[in-house]
């Protein structure tokens, strides 16, 4: 499963991910189709199953979803591939974000920036509801564990809204319930 690449191809991977970085509006996951085209179809470095596994692993593991990108790099070229992919996808967007956020912070009270934060707020709330819905959807669609999963989703939401309990404990309960086959 672990391959290596000559340095020239590693550099090419890095450069390709650098350009993808500035296209990743709305999150790294929005560039997943393009990465699939590059790694699986164009270069043939990964199989279909490798690609899906990378995304599933990153979803299952803790941390930002962008970590599917270093997993892809790891599958292509081990640790060097992971570093090339992660640095490539992060460097340009991070520098741009730093610049824009500093620019915006000094102009916080101007009408343009106020309009920006006010106008984007309902879209952000809508996106968050959509993310919750899409995450819950597979559980709603699976009849065998539907009641348990919906109960767990509702319980988590209730506990979050009404207590200050750290999410870690809720995740531990979820993992235990799932391992016992309740969810």
């Amino acid at each position: 499963m672990m391959n290596t690449l000559p340095a020239s191809e590693l550099l090419e991977l890095f450069l390709r991910f650098l350009t993808l970085s500035l296209l990743s509006i709305g999150g790294a996951m929005s560039t997943a189709p393009e990465m699939h085209r590059y790694l699986v179809v164009e270069r043939g470095w990964l199989g279909e199953a490798d690609f899906t596994t990378a995304i599933a692993l990153a979803q299952a593991a803790p941390g930002p979803n962008v970590l599917f990108v270093p997993v892809l790099g790891f599958q292509v070229a081990g640790l060097a591939g992971a570093a090339a992919a992660l640095l490539g996808i992060l460097l340009p967007s991070t520098l741009l974000s730093l610049g824009v956020s500093r620019w915006g912070a000094t102009r916080r009270e101007t009408p343009l920036v106020r309009a920006f934060t006010a106008g984007l707020a309902p879209v952000t709330v809508g996106l968050t509801f959509a993310a919750g819905w899409l995450l819950a959807l597979p559980f709603i669609g699976d009849p065998t564990h539907r009641a348990g999963a919906l109960g767990l989703i509702a319980l988590t939401a209730l506990v979050t809204l009404n207590t200050r309990l750290a999410p870690m404990w809720m995740i531990a309960v979820g993992a235990a319930a799932g391992a016992l086959g309740l969810v």
Partner: protein, 224 residues
Amino acid sequence: MSAPAPASTSAAPGRPASPLALFIAFSLLALQGFGGVLAVAQRELVDRRGWLSRLEFVELYALAQLLPGPNVVNLSLMIGDRYFGLRGALAAISGMLLAPLLVVLALAASYQQLAQYPAVAGALRGMGAVAAGLILAMALKMLGTLRGNVLGPALCTALGLATLTAIAVFRVPLAWVVIGLGLSGWSLARWRIALRDAATARTKDVPHTTPPAPPAGRDPGTPG
């Protein structure tokens, strides 16, 4: 405007003590972020540590989302930069990425063996359900931050529902939704702010034409 509880929406009560505190806080929250870090970040930074108010969180997140790059990485960068400049930004980003990166690479290296156990698959499902609950609760909490929005309740509802339907029902690519509806929201908000400022200017310019009643509450036209 409509006087919500100011303590929960304006300034945040706390701040991180050092870049190291940022690094530790972001490592801990990233390691709790199964199925996405955003809800955990809101929980830890706003509800538990009080480094940001709910409104500040939503504003930073809106910006983080419109910029290219992973949203939570942009968010951690902005929060770190705000408190300790570049050092803080690096501390927050490394906290967000380093520990989870080690975990996910270890998982990737040992995946073939783990996948055989049904209990592992079940545990992953359970964690996924909890992740969904965390995000939904976060969305419900965010609703409150729209109360003082210059767009008003009708436009906020329309934009929010349009976003939800575009993503969840029609599966429109995220970039189009964020650019299209984001620009609409921005233009509408500019229009509403211009209307409001014009109204404020009018009341300031002609204060002596038949004052109908003593001003209730604060006077928006007071220079100062």
